[in-house]
Amino acid sequence: MHRITRYLRLYFLIEAQYIKARMQYRADFIISSIGMFFSSLATLGIFWILFGSITELAGWNFMEMVFIYAFYMIAISPMQIIFDHFWQLRYHVTEGTFLKYYFRPLNMMFYYISEMFDLKGLTQLAAGIVLLVYASIQLNIQWTIARVMLLLASLFSASLVQIAVVVSASCAAFWVMNSWPVLSLAWKLREFSPYPMSIFDGAFRVLFTYVIPIGFVAFYPSQIFLRPEQVSPLAYASPLVGIGLFALAYRIWTLGVNSYTGTGS
């Protein structure tokens, strides 16, 4: 417990400084936030066009899709905001700058992620929350305290799934000279996650459910709130999936860190 409060304190200390430094580049912050906002909305635009010609996608209507998408936006935000530094792991590994993360008396993953905090991701998080509230009003979803708690737990584990996928993919850099293909696969797969898994054909559905389970980033956990009466048992497995995957990703990271030899100096 003491350790957690110490790390939280350190995290806020470092991030407060980091944000202060970033804020000096105000134009950069504003422009990238606007960009983030519109790129988030772009997928909604696709839905809107799609539902101009159809009324249901694999049995899901437009507003339900909006709900799933809002869930997705919130679930990917912690990856975007807190774990953003992982996208750059391959540079640190190939250029030898990764060595410095070994020298502090801190958990290495903590020290590594603490060096970056993606402010523009906050725009995405805010947009996701607004959209989720809007969609649940439109869908007339009844919220009880228990269901709100369940929603928070589901979002937490869904975000762990997203984090685990990117962390594992980034760690390829420890063993592969050019790990970009692996990382870009993780990036592209992300775009499949706000869709009902039932629209994918057999092999892909199995892939997205059991192998690289991006179905758990939004679709499966959303079902609990959208159609509690016909939820597949998979939806309730999602907290386990999140925690299990993150543990696996952390293990891969540890193996990578221990096998890293650095570059010559």
Partner: protein, 340 residues
Amino acid sequence: MSLIQIKDLNKHFNVLNRREGLGGAFLDLFSGDYNIVRAVDGVSFDIEAGEMIGYIGPNGAGKSTTIKMMTGILKPSSGAILVNGFPPHANRIRQAQIMGVVFGQRTQLWWDLPVIESFKILKDIYRVDQKTFDDHMGLFNELVGLKQLYKQQVRTLSLGQRMLCDITASFLHNPQVVFLDEPTIGLDISVKAKMRTVIKELNQTRNTTIILTTHDLGDVEALCRRIIIIDKGKVLFDGDVKKVNALFGAYRTLKVQVNDFDESTLKALAGQMIQHFGTNNGISISEVEKHWTDITIDQARTPLADVLSFVMTNFPVHDVRIVEISMENVVQKVYDGALS
């Protein structure tokens, strides 16, 4: 008990024997043809608390690999390594608290933050109390005028300023041992001198053990009493720096460019040197490069400054350079048996 104990330390890497060309690269995918590279090959030494060690050797000698094992980044292939009684690799977090590291020119400070904020974060990471922190920062302000850099972002510092900040940072938590890897590389002479003063001061006042890897033999000469020379993964020499000094410390080459140079200049120079400094003066003169006269001086016999002032007053000197003996030369001399 010694602070650092290393016994029969080995680190071997398996390196694939690569074939040439695109077809070769494809075949390599299925190849099991590995070469074992013995980066560190049976190294043993002990280091006592408070020592300042010059750990030197040519590129690829195994210096970095040893340091990486001492700092806990790499796990030894075999052999024992104990720092403060613990194997570093198995106790990384605990060991990090008692170590300071400056690794070449890669800063460990926060690139976007003002210098002072970096130090404040480090204060929290290492749980340094306010008084120790203030004393430490005060000392560095006194030694190198650090205060004027406090508000600057790390990214805007010059290389010399950044290295000073990195060194300050590495000593902040009063570590028992500090690893300095090429701390003076790329720095101009005045900053280099400052850096040496600071390192010496800290070693003496705090009894901090310092392990210095460098290409600059001047650093070793100015700072260390003991030197460990390593080449091809093996310790070539471990002992008093004075012994090695005879190989590099005492010799300097003074390169002078004289106006209206010709054959007679060289002769005149040699003649007047003998007249002035005697026959056993340890000076040899040759023309290696066009228009440059090389005067190699054994400082044990004749001080360089005397020779320099003599040449400057008696000849129309156009340009002067002072060159130290290179690391490769030293290692070669050791192989040739100069120390045995």
